[in-house]
């Protein structure tokens, strides 16, 4: 579960600019949520709060059972291990193969060799990349690289996956495929938060939409999908 209670974020280094203003959001386990908003609306600040890269000026943030205001040292690592992150620029380790990139996150959590051997092929199969396990990121298309990133995020079976503009670098037809994969993962019970500015995708898939505007929640409701594509 993700919950933000009366969260304010002000950046002192930017002359006290208010990035988030009195945010109250609650996302239950197993939900799929789109977060939308224009540049400067506060989307990145919100994500940094959830991964404990930033802390709120006031208010409280809870993620996967952790109270982020009280989180210190090794607990921050535990929090990050409980979240699967997907980025617009994929952020794969260039000198590791697809298999090793996915296995890396399992090694970090000190999983056994046997578990890694079973889990990595499973998640690669889930994203449709079983046949590219030995390839390096530079040998893959953008869509394939993002699928590897999704496989990596899902490999440790986290309770929450946060996807920050995962389709931002992809062609529209590939973008839909990526969201489909995220939807499949969500079907397994994993909470997915996807930040995007691509309204077509949001309208096509529908579901819960949280729209940020000038650091505040402008819209938080569920819309239908498919038939609303213009």
């Amino acid at each position: 579960m993700v919950e933000l209670k009366n969260v304010d974020v002000r950046y002192r280094e930017r002359g006290g600019v208010e990035a988030l203003n009195d945010i109250n959001i609650k996302i239950e386990d197993g939900e799929f949520v789109f977060i939308v908003g224009s540049s400067g609306a506060g989307k990145s600040t919100l994500l940094k709060l959830l991964t404990r890269e930033n802390q709120p000026t006031s208010g409280r943030v809870f993620v996967n059972g952790y109270n982020l205001s009280k989180l210190k040292g090794s607990k921050v690592l535990m929090l990050r291990r409980s979240i699967g992150m997907i980025f617009q620029d994929f952020r794969l380790i260039p000198n590791l193969t697809v298999y090793e990139n996915v296995a890396f996150v399992l090694r970090v959590t000190d999983k056994s060799k046997r578990f890694i051997r079973q889990r990595v092929p499973y998640v690669l199969n889930l994203v449709g990349l079983s046949n590219r396990a030995k390839a390096y990121p530079s040998q893959l298309s953008g869509g394939e690289q993002q699928r590897v990133a999704i496989a990596r995020a899902f490999a440790s079976d986290p309770g929450l996956i946060i996807a920050d503009e995962p389709t931002g670098n992809l062609d529209p037809e590939l973008s839909y495929g990526i969201v489909e994969v995220l939807k499949d993962i969500n079907q397994c019970g994993t909470t997915v938060i996807m930040v995007t500015h691509e309204h077509d995708i949001v309208k096509y898939f529908g579901g819960r939409i949280i729209s940020l505007k000038d650091g505040s929640v402008a819209f938080d409701d569920t819309i239908g999908g498919g038939d609303e594509v213009e």
Partner: protein, 301 residues
């Protein structure tokens, strides 16, 4: 940490050397040149010490015994000199030997001077070499007080000159060594920092997925250490080649050795395995330390 994950990180550290070959080569060159400078400075310092030691060995305190000293007294004087803690070596020169030596030194040209002498005027002498030239006054004082000793002669000026030169060379040597260490560490630190900076995205990815600092540092540590060991080996090879070529140039002119008082110049073969071990150890230490410091700073930022 599980063994399989540990071996993965070690393998990763090793393969990173090739994947980041430009920065690896830069680190390799810096460590190699640093160790080469250290090695050559060490060899030069060692040989300087040998030169000074050889010159010091040539200093002699002459302890002249009273002319009418009985054999038992001579033996007593020898015992007291040998028992002195400053004494390194004692050689006895009898009256007859001293006389022969004196005549030999003056040559046939002056032999007429000795023809009318009734008896041998030369005293028996103990030629003493001491182990610490800076204590020459103390030694002369001790020897002068031995019963039966007539006079003690010592090369004070020469001893003071050598002592002062030895001290100054020591200070200069230490200053050069400290300067070299500081310069090398600064360069190695900055090179590894650049290397870490070039791979900051990789490090950030590891942090993003919740890797501990140890997990992130280990491959860099292995990489830095291996580059250091290889650089240590290369610097050993260059040091050997440079030292032996310099020695062979000097060996062509034996008079230089004679002037310098060096008969037993250090042969690289005598210390080559020790030098190789020290080079590799120092390289591993510098490489690993530089990486760990740079990584630590990056991870804190």
């Amino acid at each position: 940490m599980k063994w399989s994950n540990m071996t993965f990180l070690v393998r990763r550290g090793m393969s990173s050397i090739w994947h980041n070959r430009v920065m690896s080569f830069a680190s390799f060159c810096i460590i190699m040149v640093s160790l080469l400078l250290f090695g050559l400075s060490g060899l030069v310092a060692y040989n300087f010490n040998v030169i000074i030691g050889n010159i010091e060995d040539k200093n002699e305190i002459l302890v002249f015994v009273e002319n009418d000293a009985e054999p038992y007294k001579l033996a007593h004087i020898a015992d007291v000199i040998a028992a002195n803690s400053l004494t390194e070596r004692v050689v006895f020169r009898s009256k007859e030997e001293a006389w022969d030596l004196q005549r030999e030194r003056m040559g046939a040209e002056y032999s007429v001077l000795f023809e009318h002498l009734d008896e041998n005027p030369m005293p028996s002498t103990y030629i003493v070499t001491i182990n610490d030239l800076s204590m020459i006054e103390q030694a002369v004082d001790d020897f002068s007080q031995i019963e039966g000793v007539e006079q003690v002669n010592a090369p004070y000026d020469f001893a003071h000159f050598l002592t002062s030169m030895s001290n100054n060379l020591g200070i200069v040597g230490i200053a050069v060594l400290v300067a070299l260490i500081v310069v090398c560490l600064v360069i190695v630190y900055n090179t590894t920092r650049t290397s870490v900076f070039a791979r900051r995205q990789e490090i950030n990815i590891m942090r993003g997925v919740g890797a501990t600092n140890t997990f992130i540092k280990l491959p860099f540590f292995i990489e830095g250490m291996l580059i250091g060991v290889i650089a240590g080996g290369a610097s050993w090879f260059l040091t050997k080649a440079a030292y032996e070529s310099v020695i062979s140039v000097f060996a062509g002119d034996l008079s230089i050795w004679q002037v310098l008082g060096m008969v037993d110049v250090l042969s690289f073969d005598d210390v080559q395995w020790l030098a190789l071990a020290l080079n590799c150890l120092a390289g591993a230490f510098i490489g690993a330390l530089g990486t760990v410091f740079s990584m630590g700073k990056h991870l804190k930022s």
